[in-house]
């Protein structure tokens, strides 16, 4: 652990929220969904709408609240998320928009999701570690990752960066990454995973074959070394010539996060490991 890992100025969760919120600046007027167990993306959506994407629509998955302005709570399904929302979706509403909206040529439909395994090509697993018939870990199920082939694009976030999460090839494809199968079957309008936000850095996907892409380093969080991130990743990352340092959260972002979005300080208590 380097000193920056324990930087008293901000929590790693706050840095990740800032990074994801800035990314959502690409999605003003788009529609974004976060799932369960999603404190980081939930806070990011709130921050994005305050600063970077005031016209973005976002869904607190499960519970169905649209454009909630409540303070951050642990669960997107908690009824307190309804506070300040503009609409409450039921599950039919959610499937309708997440399965087909982009294919009508409207706004982009964006998922911000996680997984128990994510591989070098951006495929994601929520079902089983090991052989499907004899799993060493039975996961929770594919749930909303079924929309990975209908969302315009997906951003991943993880609370951990280690070789258990970042594997060479997932054991079960809940959501397909940049593989030959995507090229063969998935409509080209759905462009798949674009960025990965982890406690160590930010990553994207770079072409390394006719139909495949592999995870590439974009920026490392302050104090994180390339050696450390490669050592904690279960495959060879693509290393570009220049690697940025992830920008620290600004004073404005931290003020909004601490006073408006997360007054209870949930982001500082998340069990984020790296």
């Amino acid at each position: 652990m380097t000193d920056a890992h324990n930087n008293p100025d901000y929590a790693i969760g706050e840095l990740m929220v800032s990074a994801i919120a800035r990314q959502m600046g690409n999605h003003d007027h788009d529609w974004a969904a976060v799932g369960a167990y999603s404190q980081l993306p939930m806070a990011s959506m709130k921050l994005a709408r305050m600063i970077y994407a005031p016209n973005m629509w976002w869904l607190a998955g499960g519970g169905g609240a649209i454009n909630s302005t409540s303070k951050l709570v642990q669960s997107t399904s908690d009824h307190r998320v309804m506070r300040g929302a503009e609409y409450m979706m039921n599950m039919e509403d959610i499937v309708d928009i997440e399965m087909w909206r982009y294919n009508r040529g409207r706004e982009q439909v964006v998922g911000v999701v996680g997984g128990i395994q994510i591989d070098k090509q951006g495929s994601c697993n929520m079902v089983a570690v090991g052989d499907y018939e004899n799993p060493t870990v039975r996961g929770v199920g594919t749930v909303g990752l079924a929309f990975g082939v209908s969302f315009t694009l997906v951003y991943f976030f993880t609370m951990h960066h280690n070789k258990q999460v970042f594997v060479d090839t997932v054991d079960f494809v809940s959501s397909v990454g940049h593989t030959g199968k995507r090229a063969e079957f998935v409509p080209p309008a759905c462009i798949g995973p674009q960025k990965v936000f982890t406690p160590l850095g930010v990553f994207d996907f770079c072409e390394d074959g006719p139909d495949t892409k592999t995870m590439r380093v974009v920026s490392l969080h302050p104090g994180v070394t390339l050696e450390e991130v490669q050592d904690k990743t279960g495959f060879d990352l693509i290393i570009p010539d220049t690697i940025a340092e992830t920008a620290a959260p600004s004073d404005l972002e931290l003020t909004l996060i601490r006073n408006e979005i997360d007054p209870d300080g949930i982001l500082k208590t998340l069990r984020i490991s790296r």
Partner: protein, 297 residues
């Protein structure tokens, strides 16, 4: 008085008891439940189902199932489960589901949100299956899960993926308010409760409060499920505990955490088999604790 209120004197009440409701759920039946995660689950009825010793259920777990699915599996009531998500959200895996799955003590149908929601939609309208748009060939659920099939789209001649309609024998949901005729008022997320009521052969509602039919008629826009879908209404104050009932009380996170860590046999002995009814269950927590969970929106 308006004639309609005179007629209502002959209208049949659908009120029942937890025992009546549980008795509608036969061994081996397909049982679906509403709510999601730690919210709006019909927990008092689920405890009664466990208490009456129901076996071999095919559980249609809700779109994001937590403790309701886990405790039914842990109590040995479940033979087969249709999974979309079973876990405890930020509290980790659902331990009894995970263990039963890894030890292969339950059959798993590996669905997802599309399989579940559109399967219920097909079930509600009597369509035999759900045809998928292109793209789903690239993910593993339709490959590993054998209830997905392939067929030919007669309009294009192309092969497409299909999944089956879902028509549960019985759906059980917990809501804040209902009248004695089954008209339901949610005060928060409906999720798929409405769809479950449409797709299932029978639907049982447990509710925190019975409201008058006049109150329903005062603003029919608030009614979230019309009573004709509902077979029985059971008034169960705190009937979702330790889950939340949206609009009335929060989930009891400390208790759910202790459930996750508990020995399931000891937990069932204390909170299910060791109490004679729902009110004795509530008394274990005490008025101060239960009232402390209340929060409106």
């Amino acid at each position: 008085m308006d004639p309609i209120f005179l007629n209502s004197e002959n209208r049949q009440s659908k009120l029942g008891t937890l025992e009546d409701a549980a008795a509608m759920i036969q061994n081996g039946s397909q049982l679906a439940f509403g709510g999601l995660h730690s919210h709006n689950g019909p927990m008092a009825l689920i405890r009664q189902i466990i208490r009456q010793g129901t076996k071999d259920l095919h559980m249609i777990a809700n779109v994001s199932a937590g403790m309701p699915a886990d405790i039914l599996i842990g109590a040995g009531c479940v033979d087969t489960v249709t999974v979309c998500y079973i876990g405890m959200e930020h509290l980790g895996f659902a331990p009894r589901f995970r263990k039963a799955a890894e030890e292969k003590r339950i059959n798993i149908i590996d669905g997802d949100e599309i399989y579940y929601v559109l399967g219920l939609k097909a079930g509600a309208v009597g369509m035999p299956f759900v045809p998928y748009p292109p793209g789903h060939e690239a993910r593993d659920n339709p490959i590993f899960e054998k209830t997905y099939k392939r067929t030919t789209d007669p309009y294009t001649g192309k092969e497409i993926i299909v999944s089956p309609a879902i028509q549960p024998d019985v759906a059980i949901i917990h809501v804040p308010r209902a009248d004695i005729y089954g008209n339901v008022v949610h005060l928060g997320s409906v999720v798929a409760d409405d769809l479950l009521a449409k797709a299932s052969t029978h639907t049982i509602v447990t509710c925190d409060e019975i409201v008058t039919n006049d109150s329903i008629r005062a603003d029919p826009r608030r009614t979230t499920i019309p009573g004709h879908y509902i077979d029985m209404v059971v008034q169960v104050p705190y009937g979702a505990h330790p889950l939340s009932c949206h609009g009335i009380y929060n989930h009891d996170e400390d208790h759910i955490k202790s459930y996750v860590k508990s020995d399931i046999g000891a937990y069932l002995d204390e909170y299910v088999f060791g109490v004679k009814d729902h009110f004795e269950y509530l008394e274990k927590f005490g008025i101060e604790h239960l009232m402390g969970l209340r929060e409106q929106i």
